[in-house]
Amino acid sequence: MLSIFTKFAKGLAVASVAAMVPFAASAEWTPKKPIDFIIMAGKGGGADKMARLMQSVIQKNNMSPMPLTPINKSGGTGAEALIHLKQKTGDDHTIMVTLNSFYTTPMRQSGLGVDVMTFTPIGRMAEDTFLLWVKSDSGINNVDEFVAAVKAKKDGEWLMGGTGSGSEDNILTDYLNATYGLKIKYIPYKGGGDVAKALAGGHIQSTVNNPSEQDGFFKAGTTKPLAAFTDERLAMYPDAPTFKELGKDFSYFMQRSVVGAPGMSAEAAAYYQKLFADVYKTTEWQEYKAKKSLQGEFLTGDGLKSYWAKAIKTHEGLLK
């Protein structure tokens, strides 16, 4: 009984001391108040889980004198979050976890007037991967059989589930339709978990989920990957070839990045860049990355900006 109270009391004491004593010794910029940690997606999704993991890593290792306050702004496929960040121009205490809607939402909704290249690059923490999944008992073993099976159905009877419309999953479905001459119908769901469940229940026939969304059902033997939208085979699914091996010059990733408000002071930007570079190096993050089959090295500053510029070009091509 006593031990839990001392444990909790210790935890509370550490937290409150950390909150009260600003790092007086260092002359560098440090946050003066709690940092708004905007999440460009709803609670419980992939981006949200990752944001909360980063928050707990920072708190556990006492990496920031001020706590991060996660705030979900999922409205309008991230439009709400992008507008919020734009309104915070010049603010040193607002950062955001982002994904690929960072590029696509401003393209689809030009009325927003958001130019993401003005946002402050902090760090790309990873790139998430995509695979093509079907049910294990579908009798489909490779992409050729998949194409044949889709064509054997009437137009629009093959259903692909994905998260949201105009999303990464939707882009990949459009790609498959265009490349293989298919008429797959895309059904948007709220989250990757719902999509995985719909596949396991046989309500849809395929998904292009991330490993983190589908892996549980893979391990349970319910669903299997046919091919990966990556450059090299994933260690977790050695039997799934890449689309590149199958002769298509195509790969697609989702960024898992942290950005700051536009016009953030250079000192504050440097502080957050170092903070997230340190988060990236922690064993917790590296373990998570390996477990969820995440790829990509840490990118920051101009490196991250040129990565964005390239990705925006790719997406302009894909969305045409």
Binding site: I4, K10, I71, T77, A196, K197, K219, A220
Partner: protein
């Protein structure tokens, strides 16, 4: 029996001093978080999640599970005492809990809420223990058409079973549906009904904003007008004997509690539904089962028993898809799921096999959390009643401030606070014109769920409505829903004809 062996192992784990202490601490914390308007189990679990790295994963989930339970109990407290739903799950408790408090029966309402929560929690956790794996298959069989059928059934219980003015009920539902359509269209991705291009409408209208506006601000205005500030509520002296009498008098409500528990549990199992729709549906069914439906909304104790048993049962139910399929059944379990990822556990079909100890420890701790929650809740009732003895001139500003906090907390956006105040005034006016407000709240909760599942179904079927009727589960539910919708209309048509016949005999 293998299950019992597992459960005993789980109990040994749950009753370790550390875990038991966490259960009690979690229940108390959760109760206060639940009682704070705008702060529900979602916020409580999210805020306290980072604290859990101090303890091993099993203890962490036990702690968060206890908070979840505690918040379900606590949500009823402010619904009854202040007329502001403490959490989204307790909205339906306001409908009758508040009128009971105004009649001077606040103690009975609180005892009823605690007892119903306990019954709901107990029944659901037993169901969970015995039937978790087979019920996971039921959840898998539920797809978009079945979800839509269920939502239609929920609407039908509200339209059909009430004795209210049917056109006014429909009006109220439609207003709620229009509000629920604001925001992003999930199928096309286009923004809809963004009034004046205000960015605050992009995240849609949070239904708590509507509920707190109507039941907090609107009710307060109404009370001020009717009592001219000279309100005296609940002068009852609270004694152990009175609590006991209140408990005994609940015997007549056993049927309602059992119904609420089963209904809540099954709605909770279905992914994406969660405790709020479960509680609202249970309220509707209780009203339909009652011999005296007109007394609902005016302080019928069954109107407290049904939603409170259902929301606790649903909170257990929504852990089932989380643990077995890796899909959250409610926003709170979505956060718990995130927590499990952080602790290095993979929720999903393999969890019951790979992390048996964790699963059964959690289940056993639900038994413990439920037991302590009811004891702690009953013990605190005198303290809660003390709040009601405050003069209304002090209570009203406190309620007002709590409403504003409640409007701000979920999205941290001032836009929602302004919206809540407007809803409060509109709610007050609608109340004066005798429009039922509960259907509007129901519509804004269920509207987005119904719309999404209907459009997904129609995409699947290429626009044919057959899909709702030619699947076994959804077909049966659809037929029941339609009968429930049509019956009362025929009934009132009949009454009208008879009325006419008696006036002008042929």
């Amino acid at each position: 029996m293998e299950i019992f062996a597992h459960l005993m192992d789980g109990f040994l784990l749950a009753f370790e001093p550390l875990n038991l202490g966490l259960v009690i601490a979690g229940v108390i914390l959760g109760m206060f978080i639940g009682a704070m308007p705008g702060l529900g189990s979602v916020n409580g679990v999210a805020i306290l999640l980072p604290m859990t790295y101090l303890v091993p994963p099993t203890s962490a989930v036990i702690f968060l599970g206890a908070i979840y339970y505690g918040a379900m109990y606590g949500g009823a407290i402010s619904s009854i005492m202040l007329g502001i739903p403490g959490a989204s799950t307790a909205v339906a408790t306001t409908f009758d809990g508040r009128p009971m408090a105004l009649k001077g029966e606040a103690d009975r309402a609180l005892v009823a809420a605690a007892t119903a929560s306990f019954v709901g929690g107990s029944i659901s956790v037993v169901l969970f223990t015995l039937f978790a794996p087979p019920l996971a298959h039921v959840a898998l069989a539920f797809s978009a058409p079945e979800e839509f059928a269920l939502m239609l059934l929920a609407f039908a219980t509200f339209v059909g079973l009430g004795g209210d003015d049917i056109p006014k009920t429909f009006f109220s539902i439609f207003i709620g549906l229009v509000f629920s359509a604001v925001g992003l269209d999930i199928i096309s991705g286009e923004p809809r009904l963004i009034f004046m291009d205000l960015p605050g409408f992009f995240h849609g209208i949070n239904f708590l904003v509507l509920a707190i506006g109507i039941y907090g601000i609107g009710e307060m205005l109404w009370t001020i007008e009717t009592t001219k500030g000279n309100m005296k509520i609940s002068q009852a002296n609270i004694t152990v004997r009175r609590i006991w009498e209140a408990l005994v008098s609940l015997k007549s409500g056993i049927k309602t509690m059992v119904m609420g528990s089963f209904l809540g549990y099954f709605v909770g199992i279905l992914p994406a539904a969660g405790a709020t729709p479960g509680a609202l549906m249970a309220y509707g069914v209780a009203k339909g089962m009652s011999k005296d439906p007109d007394s609902f909304g005016k302080g019928n104790v069954n109107g407290v028993l049904a939603p409170e048993s259902a929301n606790n049962a649903a909170s257990t139910g929504s852990m089932l898809p989380m643990l077995t399929l890796g899909i959250p059944g409610s926003p709170t379990t979505a956060i718990l799921l995130g927590g499990m990822v952080i602790w290095g556990l993979d929720p999903g079909p393999m969890l019951f096999v790979e992390h048996k100890e964790f699963v059964w420890g959690l289940i056993a701790s639900l038994y413990a959390a439920n037991f302590f929650a009811v004891l702690i809740n009953l013990a605190f009732i005198p303290a809660f009643l003390w709040v009601l003895r405050m003069p209304f001139t002090i209570l009203a500003p406190v309620i007002f401030v709590l409403c504003i906090i409640g409007g701000y907390a979920p999205t941290q956006d001032m836009h929602d606070v302004w919206l809540m105040l407007i809803f409060g005034i509109v709610g007050y006016l609608m109340r004066k014109l005798d429009y039922p407000m509960a259907p509007a709240v129901l519509a804004i909760v269920l509207g987005p769920l119904a719309e999404t599942s209907m459009r997904q179904s129609l995409l699947m079927s290429s626009g044919s409505f057959d899909i709702f009727f030619f699947r076994p589960i959804s077909g049966v539910i659809m037929v029941i829903a339609i009968i429930l919708l049509i019956l009362p209309m025929l009934h009132s048509f009949n009454r009208m004809m008879r009325h006419r016949a008696s006036r002008w005999p042929l």
